[in-house]
């Protein structure tokens, strides 16, 4: 069952936030409500998070609740696991998802498996936040998305907000969830003043705490000619292209924002493609063995006959992200690539 939400209104005076500030507000409201919520990571204190994920939290809650850690991901992520096992709801931040290599054992062999290995006897109600994404020349070790890798491994939920509204609702849901939740925020959707941003990075956000359900996609734009399934920053690019195509080319694209990869809202994908018969997947993670293939398999596992044309996957090729802008732009799933793919699938 998909959810259509009106996320943006033109009501004068309605309060608007960037994605980063919305995320912070969600965390702050949960920290008010539940004293066992603490946030730990590198530079999350005075600095407020390298990508503003904790701006203002130290001033409001103090060093006892917002903890700067040494550069010891294995130790502090493991610490969060042990604290969660003993009844707290910690949030640990992995500064860049690209750093998972130094601490993945605690994440996938411990955080994600303890509940199962214990036959349900032990819960790990923690959140692992992490910054993802490229497009600003941070090169191969600081620009990856890697959500396919995390969603691939059993035992952890994976959520990826694209809008300010969902950034707040999903962090609230993640904190309240009794399972380990990996919350991946794209640097390009945060609305940071020092990085190029999409206007959709700022939008109306309700002031009260609220949850966005984990495992439910959002129809970001309704359409009948083609389904574009995406996540994170690529949702904004897809919407920009959809607006252009509707105005110029008379193509009405339906844009599906997955929001969660684990659990994955397969029903939303199937319902949309059953309607349009055409599919483009836009995925800023690597092409092979990942999310885009999983979306296609969702259709072909059930009814390949639904498709009136082959699927196009607009993803990062199996290449380390290059530094030079011309090269990086060539590999990212840009608006031009999305538009060309839509044209091919509509014609096909």
């Amino acid at each position: 069952m998909t959810v259509m939400e009106t996320q943006s209104t033109d009501t004068a005076g309605t309060r608007r936030l960037t994605t980063a500030k919305a995320m912070v507000e969600g965390i702050a409201q949960e920290m008010e409500r539940d004293p066992s919520v603490v946030y730990l990571g590198e530079d999350v204190g005075k600095y407020g998070g390298i990508f503003s994920s904790t701006a203002g939290l130290l001033d409001r809650f103090g060093e006892d609740r917002v903890l700067d850690t040494p550069i010891s991901e294995t130790a502090f992520i493991g610490l969060a696991i042990g604290a969660a096992v003993e009844g707290m709801r910690p949030i640990a931040e992995l500064m860049f998802v690209d750093f998972f290599g130094v601490c993945m054992d605690q994440i996938y062999n411990h955080m994600a498996k303890i509940h199962y290995e214990s036959g349900g006897a032990v819960k790990v109600p923690m959140v692992l936040t992490t910054a993802v994404g490229g497009g600003y020349s941070d090169a191969a070790q600081h620009s990856q998305c890697l959500w396919g890798t995390f969603a691939h491994l059993p035992g952890m939920k994976v959520v990826i907000p694209s809008t300010p509204h969902d950034a707040k609702g999903l962090i609230v849901s993640a904190i309240r969830d009794d399972n380990p939740v990996v919350y991946m925020f794209h640097k390009g959707v945060m609305g940071l003043p020092w990085m190029a941003k999409n206007p959709r990075a700022t939008d109306v956000v309700p002031e009260e705490p609220y949850e966005v359900p984990i495992g439910k996609a959002r129809i970001a734009r309704e359409g009948s000619d083609i389904t574009v399934v995406s996540v994170s920053l690529s949702v904004h690019h897809a919407l920009d292209v959809a607006d252009r195509l509707a105005a110029d080319g008379g193509i009405e694209a339906e844009v599906v924002d997955l929001r969660s990869l684990k659990p994955l809202d397969r029903d939303a994908i199937l319902t949309s493609v059953a309607k349009t018969g055409r599919l483009v997947v836009v995925d800023e993670d690597y092409l092979s063995y990942g999310l885009s293939g999983e979306v296609v398999a969702t259709i072909t596992d059930v009814d390949p006959g639904m498709l009136r044309a082959p699927v196009e996957r607009v993803a990062v090729p199996d290449v380390p992200l290059p530094y030079a802008r011309s090269l990086e732009t060539a590999v990212l799933p840009t608006r031009d690539r999305i538009e060309e793919a839509i044209h091919r699938v509509v014609k096909g």
Binding site: A12, G13, R16, P193, T202
Partner: protein, 77 residues
Amino acid sequence: MTDVPFPAVADKGPGSEGVVATWFVRDGDSVVADQLLAEVQVDKVAVEVPAPAAGTIRLLVPEEAVVTQGAVIARIE
């Protein structure tokens, strides 16, 4: 009527230039005192601009336009 100036940012000199990175309100919106109006940036330092008063806001500069510290970026009527 109340002016909303581009704030002095950290220890940047009085003539320093910056930008309005993000407007959180639209031209003509009703605002309340202390409501978050904008995030401005000088070099690498970002600062939030709260509304000094309640009223209807008129935006005087667009996002990304270069502004000198102290210049009026909006007015609240």
